[in-house]
């Protein structure tokens, strides 16, 4: 009975993986890189690289906050942390505008953040770049496709992934043993181990990331429950959801009359930031100064490290103080909702995005993502390996197509990412459409690797493309050093974020060179056989 059930499940596992395998591979690569979305954007803005945290940083941040508060009633100051090396100041303006029926309403005009050097306080004007946001958006919205259509395409691929994972578990009889089994032989068994090992080792992560991915695409994939109750008024549904999500915590806990208006001074601000009930000063990641008209001035303090799995987006833990009385008037400590279901849902979303994770945990998520990339990549190669003998006897178009698409996708996306980074350094800083040019460079490079794959013998094309990728990745730290550094000493004095990037590029080059050497051996063995 069990064997009878496993047979169709094997078929389902194979095909649910292969049909969307290339898209899944690209989603995994871009999605995994999104764990460092902010860092990628920083790297792609070399103007920011010279900013280094110093003893002056906190003072500079205070001065910038006070200066911005003179013009704006709502100022957010983000201090440097493990993910950014600059001080960011965002001053929101509130404009009154007339609506169609003549009523005045408050309209928030968003002003982009201003960035300051964490050591000198100089204003930094970073270049325009698609940065990490492009890779992040690509992994769930693809590119230049209507959002709903893209969500559906990615949703179908994600559902297929979930099916592949579950059927993968069903067809495996010895999951625990497989974690410790890797036979590094160049045959089907070896590829199977290379496919199973990352799958089994990161199984909980894979289930979580796939299932939470589906939940994130809910509004496109499964809107029927909300539609049945709210009709086409999805905005009302979202509004109610948001209310339940934050469950009245935002209400001020002291009567408005007690709040007192005061002048915003550095001394007063320091008293709040060093308040005994506040977070440790070294752990202050962000503070928001809100001046309410003729009422009060409050300072909301948000820590650098989120302590709760329910913390994500705007729902981080925080403490709010009245600037004059120094009383704590509000405290957010996620989960903000008292609904278990909403909290479970938000925990899944939080897990997917890893907003709550510190740098160590984020690195583990990244490694788990890399395992996901290996899993989908080896799955696609395994499909080819299993059918090689059969294809030698009778040529198949399906085999040819999968072989070429495997090459174009797997090798191509790494070439495309390297070209995307290099293009960032070579496109003129003042170029108006530099974002678009960067993205174009990414897709053109990817397209060329597909074209090359279809016009060349597969193994040779693998070797050539891998060597190109090696050359591109190894050239990245050199190009960066030549273009960005004024002197060699900057290599050591810059923020560690950028040193990690150089290390990553070198590691990528070494890994790809290792794969290229395996392919090279295969080619030599093939040539020997022919002789």
């Amino acid at each position: 009975m069990a064997r009878e059930f496993r047979k169709p499940m094997t078929w389902l596992h194979t095909w649910s993986g292969v049909i969307v395998g290339w898209l899944l591979f690209a989603i995994f690569v871009t999605g995994t890189s999104s764990y460092y979305r902010g860092e990628i954007t920083l790297w792609m803005q070399p103007e920011t690289h010279k900013s280094v945290v110093s003893e002056n940083t906190f003072d500079i941040a205070l001065e910038k906050a006070l200066k911005a508060s003179q013009k704006s009633k709502n100022v957010t100051v983000t201090l440097p942390n493990s993910r950014t090396n600059m001080i960011a100041v965002k001053a929101e303006m509130q404009n009154k505008s007339n609506t169609k029926n003549g009523n005045q309403r408050q309209k928030r005009k968003r002003i982009p953040s201003l960035y300051y050097d964490a050591n000198t306080g100089e204003l930094i004007t970073p270049r325009e770049t698609a940065g990490g946001n492009f890779l992040y958006r690509f992994h769930f919205e693809l590119y230049n496709i209507p959002r709903k259509v893209a969500h559906w395409i990615v949703g179908i691929a994600t559902m297929s992934m979930l099916v592949a994972i579950i059927t993968g578990i069903i067809i495996h009889t010895r999951i625990f043993k497989d974690i410790f089994t890797f036979r590094s032989k160049d045959n089907t068994r070896g590829w199977m181990d290379a496919h199973i090992l990352p799958g089994v080792a990161t199984l909980p992560f894979l289930i979580m990331i796939t299932y939470s991915g589906l939940l994130l695409l809910n509004s496109a994939l499964m809107p029927w429950g909300a539609k049945a109750h709210y009709g086409d008024d999805i905005r009302a549904y979202k509004q109610e959801f948001r209310t339940l999500y934050t469950n009245g915590v935002d209400k001020p806990s002291i009567p408005q009359s007690r709040a007192t208006k005061t002048d915003l001074t550095k001394e007063q601000l320091l008293k709040v930031l060093y308040h005994k009930d506040s977070f440790d000063v070294k752990n202050i990641g962000r503070f928001i100064i809100t001046q309410k008209n003729n009422e009060s001035t409050t300072v909301e303090i948000i820590p650098k490290e989120a302590a709760s799995i329910f913390s994500f987006k705007g729902l981080k833990e925080s403490k709010t103080f009245d600037l004059y009385t120094l009383e704590q008037i509000n405290m957010k400590n996620p989960p903000l909702s008292n609904s278990t279901i909403v909290n479970v849902n938000s925990a899944f979303i939080s897990l997917h995005m890893a907003h709550f994770a510190d740098s160590t945990l984020r690195f583990f998520f990244f490694i788990a993502g890399v395992f996901g990339i290996i899993l989908s990549g080896t799955g696609l190669v395994l499909w080819i390996e299993k059918r090689k003998k059969k294809n030698l006897e009778k040529k198949s178009f399906g085999f040819y197509l999968v072989e070429k698409l495997n090459l174009g996708t797997m090798s191509g996306i790494f070439i495309a990412i390297a070209v995307y980074f290099i293009a960032n350094r070579f496109i003129g800083v003042d170029e108006l459409m530099r974002k678009e040019y960067e993205i174009n460079a990414f897709f053109i490079a990817w397209l060329f690797s597909y074209i090359h794959a279809f016009f060349r013998d597969t193994l040779s094309a693998w070797r050539e493309q891998l060597l190109i990728a090696v050359a591109l990745f190894i050239s990245l730290p050199l190009i960066n050093a030549t273009i960005v550094f004024d002197s060699l000493s900057e290599f050591y004095t810059r923020d560690s974020i950028f040193i990690y990037f150089d290390i990553f590029f070198v590691v990528m080059a070494v890994v790809l060179a290792f794969i290229a050497s395996i392919v090279n051996k295969k080619i030599k063995a093939k040539d020997l056989k022919k002789c």
Binding site: V163, L215, N218, M222, H229, S339, V344
Partner: protein, 88 residues
Amino acid sequence: MKILRFLTASIGGYILTAFMSVSLTLMFTFTTTIESIVLANMLSYTIWLLFILYSFSDVDLKKILIQLLVVCFILYGFNTYFLSIEGV
């Protein structure tokens, strides 16, 4: 035959899941409708997944199709009746 199973699992499964997610929002008795919708959405992918696995099991395809039609018809009736009572 595999293509028919694939269509049944994907499209048929989706339709079944859509009906089921609405039915679940009506069946759950939480304090707010939002909670019912969120939980129904969370469960719907599991239902779809289970149906896909069932469609590819060794059960006769005709039997699966008939079961799918009957269940969808019942769920449609259930949803229409209870949504009309709720006045939606």
